[in-house]
């Protein structure tokens, strides 16, 4: 059964994939006449070389943790939720409504309420596709992706026509009141004597993201519901035979997934922008798919993969800022990583399996 040891499966395969992506990226950078080694150094020092860089890296990481977990949970029920984008947008609406219209005096109160609002709105946006899948068999991939567009349209309508302050050019809500501003890592770490950059947007939501990883792990592997979700994902007939209700599991898995995607909004809408802008999610919902794939749908793997993508985002920003590498090429580099770690997984896995098998025979 075991073709290769677990450490190879978990670490070696992604690592080799990453290296391949890095080599190809280096060739791309060489081809446009820049120095790949200098580019790598700039990415590393820009993303990890200062608390400022870390602040941005962890900010992006937090986004990807939530959307990655969302995809992972649904995936365990063999539901491919690619509507994280729309669910996170609606989550932003939930956060904005809570922050703007509820009297929230302090962030300790505002954080849980906004998080609940975000999760509720995100889950609600996953509800209809879930229902259609469970009851009507409409494929979840089609419905969730269509709901992304509906979400964009809805948000556009609300921001342009209803929630925008009169006279403002920007299709965005007002700033959230002072009481709802989340503390950044600078605010959190200063009392214990750690100097963290003030300008970086990473905030307390990162801690919430770490907790979410733990909770999802507990849910999937330590509860009855998690067992039912995984059993349903492995074999629907077997699950039905065991008395698991497929409609119920489909709905619940998607609601949890949508809720997690929605909670991303706590980070970007409440923590960073402190107001709801139109383009708040910026593809993090889709990056979540790559993060979940790379993390093997395990919460810990999602955390590591999210960190990697956070690094790529922030490192890419530094490249764009200080070199003449055009931003399209930075997207190419990010895409290569997704391609190798997500889509071309088997290209690395198969030869590696054969290699390990050969070793085992030899031994």
């Amino acid at each position: 059964m075991d073709k290769m040891p677990r450490w190879a499966e978990v670490f070696l395969v992604p690592l080799i994939s990453l290296l391949l992506a890095a080599v190809l990226s280096a060739l791309v950078i060489l081809a446009i006449g820049e120095n790949p080694w200098a580019a790598v150094k700039m990415m590393v020092s820009g993303a990890l070389g200062s608390t400022y860089g870390w602040g941005y890296t962890l900010y992006y990481t937090t986004n990807f943790i939530f959307t990655g977990l969302a995809v992972a949970v649904a995936y365990h029920a063999r539901l491919f939720n690619i509507g994280g984008e729309g669910q996170a947008m609606l989550g932003g609406l939930g956060v904005a409504l809570a922050c703007l219209y509820l009297p929230l005096p302090h962030w300790l109160i505002a954080l849980p309420i906004a998080a609940v609002g975000a999760a509720l709105f995100g889950a609600a946006w996953a509800l209809i596709p879930a229902y259609l899948q469970a009851k009507r068999g409409s494929h979840i991939v089609i419905t969730t992706i269509m709901f992304n567009f509906i979400a964009a349209g809805l948000l556009n309508y609300l921001l342009v026509n209803l929630m925008r302050p009169v006279g403002s050019m920007d299709p965005a809500t007002d700033k959230f009141p002072e009481g709802t501003h989340l503390p950044t890592l600078h605010d959190l770490l200063a009392p214990i004597g750690i100097e963290f950059s003030k300008a970086a947007p990473a905030n307390v939501t990162f801690v919430v993201g770490l907790l979410a990883c733990l909770v999802v792990w507990l849910l999937l592997w330590r509860t009855r519901l998690g067992y039912e979700i995984r059993a349903f994902g492995h074999s629907e007939p077997a699950a039905v035979y065991a008395g698991i209700n497929p409609v119920k599991i489909t709905m619940i898995a998607m609601l949890i997934s949508g809720g997690l995607a929605g909670m991303m909004a706590v980070n970007n809408v409440m923590g960073e922008a402190e107001r709801l802008v139109m383009n708040a999610v910026e593809g993090a919902g889709f990056i979540g798919i790559a993060v979940a794939l790379m993390g093997r749908n395990h919460p810990f793997g999602v955390l590591i993969a999210a960190l990697l993508f956070g690094f790529l985002y922030q490192g890419g920003a530094e490249l764009a800022l200080w070199t003449s590498i055009p931003r399209e090429l930075i997207v190419v580099i990010q895409a290569l990583v997704i391609l190798f770690t997500g889509a071309l997984d088997h290209m690395v896995r198969m030869p590696l399996e054969r290699l390990f098998l050969a070793f085992r025979k030899g031994a």
Binding site: G167, M169, E282
Partner: protein, 329 residues
């Protein structure tokens, strides 16, 4: 000259060059990207013109995400770039937070008013220019139906549309104006295929002049208009050259001038609100050899008269932004 003097002279010269290098200006493009053939590209042209004339260099960045707005501002400010020019209203809130932290750095923001002592806010009266091209469209139209294709459905584009409709109705009270927006996501700024589709749909409804305010999407609008044998109207930059004889005119929004002026002023940039309208040449419509045969002397006279009236304040074009409504449909 003693050695000491020489030394001081060299040190002063060094300090001077260092100062000059540090005061490199910076330009930040919005998410649409540098080469959108429209708004951002106009900003780029202004910066290029400055660079070519002075032989100096400038820093620039094309944003990839919303979170980078503040990041790019801070990084440039910390690196000593001065002045820092940003193209796009969406920088408003980021600049609001950053400007106070760098009181010695001058900022210029285009399309947005930010009330800080070290910020120049450049706003354009797009509704006035749209009014002029709306008049031209209605006068040129034989069917009495003209079209408008907007990019993303945001207030700024509604401002364009509202001015256009007012102009069309002023020239021909019976004119019908068909309005479409390309989309509700930022993708609407770079979707020439959809722009062409919308244009064809408007043509099938009788439109024979179509104005676009849609960034890169507009490339498709002008293409479809040229292919179908009707006239398009360009926006922001002079786009008459793209299809000679098939582009009636272009509504000029001199973003390039705004960037050029800010760069030229350097660290002496005058702050405050700068309104660019017809009166000071910030807004206009394009006439060149590509469209000389399309605009008759009569049409030109009528539009120039309206332009003069707007400049003198005799004619007020309603600004959608002032109350979020448009008096005409």
């Amino acid at each position: 000259m003693t050695k000491m003097q020489k030394f001081f002279g060299a040190a002063a010269a060094l300090a001077l060059t260092a100062g000059a290098a540090a005061a490199e200006p910076a330009l930040i493009y919005d998410l649409g990207g540098k080469f959108d053939k429209s708004f951002n590209e106009a900003a780029h042209m202004g910066a290029q013109k400055w660079a070519e004339e002075t032989g100096e260099t400038y820093r620039e960045i094309e944003l990839q995400s919303e979170a980078q707005r503040e990041q790019a501002l801070r990084r440039f400010a910390e690196a000593g770039a001065n002045p820092i020019v940003m193209a796009g209203f969406a920088f408003g809130s980021a600049l609001d937070e950053v400007a106070g932290d760098y009181p010695d750095t001058k900022f210029a923001i285009i399309d947005m008013v930010t009330d800080k002592p070290n910020v120049r806010s450049v706003v354009f009266n797009e509704h006035e220019g749209s009014y002029l091209v709306g008049m031209l469209a209605a006068m040129k139209s034989e069917s009495g139906t003209v079209g408008f294709v907007g990019g993303m459905d945001i207030p700024l584009i509604r401002k364009f549309a509202c001015g256009y409709v007012q102009g069309a109705k002023a020239a021909n009270p019976d004119a019908t104006v068909i309005q479409n927006m390309t989309g509700t996501t930022p993708a609407a700024w770079g979707d020439p295929v959809k722009g062409a589709e919308l244009t064809k749909a408007q043509i099938s409804q009788g439109a024979d002049v179509v104005y676009h305010a849609a960034g890169g999407t507009g490339v498709g609008v002008l293409q479809a208009a040229a292919d179908e044998g009707i006239l398009g109207i360009g926006v922001d930059s002079n786009q008459n050259y793209m299809h000679p004889g098939k582009v009636l005119t272009s509504m000029l929004k001199r973003v390039d001038n705004a960037v050029y002026e800010a760069f030229s002023a350097g660290t002496d940039l005058e702050t405050g609100i700068q309104v660019m309208g017809i009166a000071n040449g910030g807004i206009g419509y394009a006439m060149d050899e590509n469209n000389a045969d399309l605009v008759t002397a009569e049409m030109k006279a009528a539009v120039d008269e309206a332009a003069a009236k707007i400049a003198s304040g005799e004619l007020v074009v309603h600004d959608y932004m002032s109350d979020n409504t448009c008096p005409v449909e």
